[in-house]
Amino acid sequence: MTAVQERPGAEIGRDRRRKEDQRLITGRTRWTDNLQLPGMLHLAMIRSPFAHATIASIDKSEAEKATNVVAVFTAADLGESLGACINAWAITTDQVTPAHPPMPADRVTFAGEIVAVVVARSAAEARDAAELVDVEYDELPAALDLKEAAEATPENGGALAHPDLGTNKSALWTFDSAEAGTGGNVDEAIEKARTDGILIEREYRQQRLIPAFMEPRSVVVDPTGEQITMWSATQIPHILRFALAATTGVPESKIRVIAPDVGGGFGGKLQQTPEEMIAFAVARRLGKPVKYTETRSESLMSGHHGRDQWQRLTLAATKDGTVTGLKVDLLADLGSYVAIVGGGVPVLGAFMFNAIYKFPAYRFNCQTVLTNKTWTDAYRGAGRPEATYAIERLMNELAAEVGVDPLAVREKNWIKHEEFPFTTVAGLEYDSGNYEAATAKARELFGYDELRAEQRRRRESGDPVQLGIGVSTFTEMCGLAPSRVLGQLNYGAGGWEHAEVRMLPTGKVEVVTGASAHGQGHETAFSQIVADRLGVAFEDVEILHGDTQISHKGLDTYGSRSLVVGGEALVKAVDKVIEKAKPIAAHLLEASVDDLEFTGGRFSVRGTDQGMAIGEIATAAFAAHNLPDGVEPSIDSEATYDPVNFNYPHGTHLCAMEVDTETGALKMRKYVCVDDIGNIINPLIVAGQVHGGLVQGIAQALWEEAVYDESGTLVSGSFVDYLLPTAADTISFDVDHTTSPSTTNTLGTKGVGEAGTIASTPAVVNAVVDAVRHLGVNDIQMPCTPERVWKAINGAHGGGHADTEGAAAPHFDASTGMEGTVDRTTGGADA
């Protein structure tokens, strides 16, 4: 048996090529849109062109007469069977949460909302007939600008996203370190800095982004069996099954959700979507299988968006650059509905504004706001990129004010490696980390001193192409997470994960996980863990996932939780297998349990050459001819693991950017990152996750933005206008790591899925600003297009600020409302 030859620990840490790849590189894939079921019908959605309007009438008579059209349904036709899209996170008990019908009956609240569905024998015929549905709308004033929406009331005549609610304010969530007992009073810190220190006040915009996974969302529903089966390109098959049951009344046991191959997610497929709900209702109504696959334009318009915040920040520090306090006021645009976890995204960020630093005082106010735009929700990093951006930009401003290197100001304020575990001002306990080591390594790989020297030379010579060096040190909370903590935050579910290890009679192993993959390489990484822990061959482990019938329990994949929560659940399940096998091994080896040891997949009797492989015990348990009395003839086991803490990856990212001061054109020269994600299971997969994350974060800094026009139409509604970077836009990266094992899980791992995205955006913008700071620029709004860079250099907006929102933006204070104006020169354009 191969297990006997395997060396424990041989798999973990190894660059294993992925098991998943064979089918993906040969086109033998199981995308939802590939499914063809007998008699399957196809859906086409009719979507509102208006951001806010009442539906006056829907005439579907012409469409119903079209060739091969089976039915046309409106909300009135489908009635209560449509159910509702769930919101799982009321961040405050008084959160204003508008009901979210998959297909509203009387009023649309964003451009792209579904008002009717055509069912036809082919997708093309359904789309043709959709053109024949005549919908009359009466347009309503739309709440589109986030700041204006936050201020709107029935009394001041501002547009309300949902007039019946009387407000666009959804929830006000606050944290104050003085009240929480985790730190001091931030107002005192600010007052002291105002008179005898440094006060940095800035306002940053987190533009709206679109996850833009490559596989458009697709759903197939087959109601013809004993159960209703839904295949969906989703990240959350388990949560979706629960949500379908909870909102339609169909018992969970009668619903099976399958997430087959899923082509990317990045948070964008973390939803119970209107399209899924409509397909579910139509299939039930007609008793036939149905399919809906969105077009890319539909995906960009009506799949959820990410980010979209205004951040107003006040950082207090002493004259030598020691931070004494941070105050954050946030406005977060939820769009027209509070999506499944949309309300909670900014709150995840609340815990991260202090980042890797020892802030003595902190206050966070977040006002979430409803508008007549597509709903926002988790997008790669979810709240943490927004927070990291703000603080890493501010730390650079502080360095400029003090007149020191940006790395020096970080070093002055960060938590030193010997201070872990460390409880932060936001109340989190960071288990491990070594910011000094990661920074030193990144510095060396980057050639920091040489590049700084080149920067000086270019400045002195007045080179039209200037060099900027961007720094971003980051940490994040991931591995979502301890159920108890999520409960304290009013989140609707827990944060555990489930795993099952099935020992097959031949000695091979089937492993079931509740984590559901969409490109992360679970089948490979989880096989490595089981192979090592159980002492069996990598090839003998099969990972099953993404089907609620096979994997009956799980909380799916988001928030970099698969490995650190799901992987740890596997460890627990494997340990139970070994525990169950032990008495059987002792019996068969005619030894005492106390004399057995388990290494390399084999039980051995100490001091003898007697032993049995775990696979042989599986076979013996299957035959059950000779088991100890009262012992169950199975060594299969399962475990549900709830972590005791989040975990906290960190890293140092450095970016060198060339800026053409005559044209505003940018060229990335070099990007180095050293991430510390604890112990690494598969370095190849980890590097790939980092590369992809980096480009998504760089894209926020430089290219991507969901843009609405004044009528609420998404003008970046295709890949022509929404600028996903191409291979020609990007460079090769220098990726390395340091290792501070997590102390809160057996594997010592930390999450990596979001790290690159969180860290890279501020690194890039810091580099762009650094290149032109000597020209009087201290901010450029994202995405840093050549036009914005050029305007910043040429003072088109005055005071060295290149903020396209204008020199005087309305002031907002999430806690007190919206009044006055911000002095946007506060903090100074430090030319």
């Binding site: 660059d15 490559m214 191409t726």
Partner: protein, 160 residues
């Protein structure tokens, strides 16, 4: 309906198709060649890239009737006699894919690129793949895979 005859992945096929049917829909819906996928409706993403008479095309940009008499190769016909194409091997070796949705198009484009230029520089590879979007890999390992397939990179290290 228009009658077309063509060779797809080495097999002769004949069908009556609507003149408006796109080649990608013909491949997926009529022939069940679901390895070729659709990622956008604006010809930007390149996920549907196949070879038409040996040249890479975005099959959402070609009508099925235009393929009449042609030889079409899809990702499913790239491996021969159970042997993966070297570019397929390279994508696995270099971890040039994650979710895998863009991968068929990316591999077909890479094969065409290497046919035209067997030893491309990194810049030539990046320009050659500009019409194919990937959201997972950051392109780093895709570029490495093409270099590897061209014999210009020995290994796919986890770092750098």
């Amino acid at each position: 309906m228009t009658r077309i005859s063509l060779t797809v992945d080495g097999a002769s096929v004949s069908d009556d198709v609507e003149p408006r049917m796109l080649l990608v829909h013909y491949l997926r819906e009529k022939l069940g060649k679901t390895g070729t996928v659709i990622g956008c409706d604006t010809s930007n993403c390149g996920a549907c890239t196949v070879h038409l008479n040996g040249t890479s095309v975005k099959s959402c940009n070609v009508l099925a009737v235009q393929a009449d008499g042609a030889e079409v190769t899809t990702i499913e016909g790239l491996a021969r006699d159970g042997e993966l194409h070297p570019v397929q091997e390279a994508f696995r070796e270099c971890h040039g894919l994650q979710c895998g949705f863009c991968t068929p198009g990316m591999i077909m484009q890479s094969v065409a690129l290497l046919q035209e230029n067997p030893k491309p520089s990194e810049e030539e590879i990046r320009l050659g793949l500009e019409g194919n979007l990937c959201r997972c890999t950051g392109y780093h390992n895709i570029v490495r895979a093409v270099q590897h397939a061209s014999g210009q990179a020995e290994t796919a290290g986890a770092t750098s």
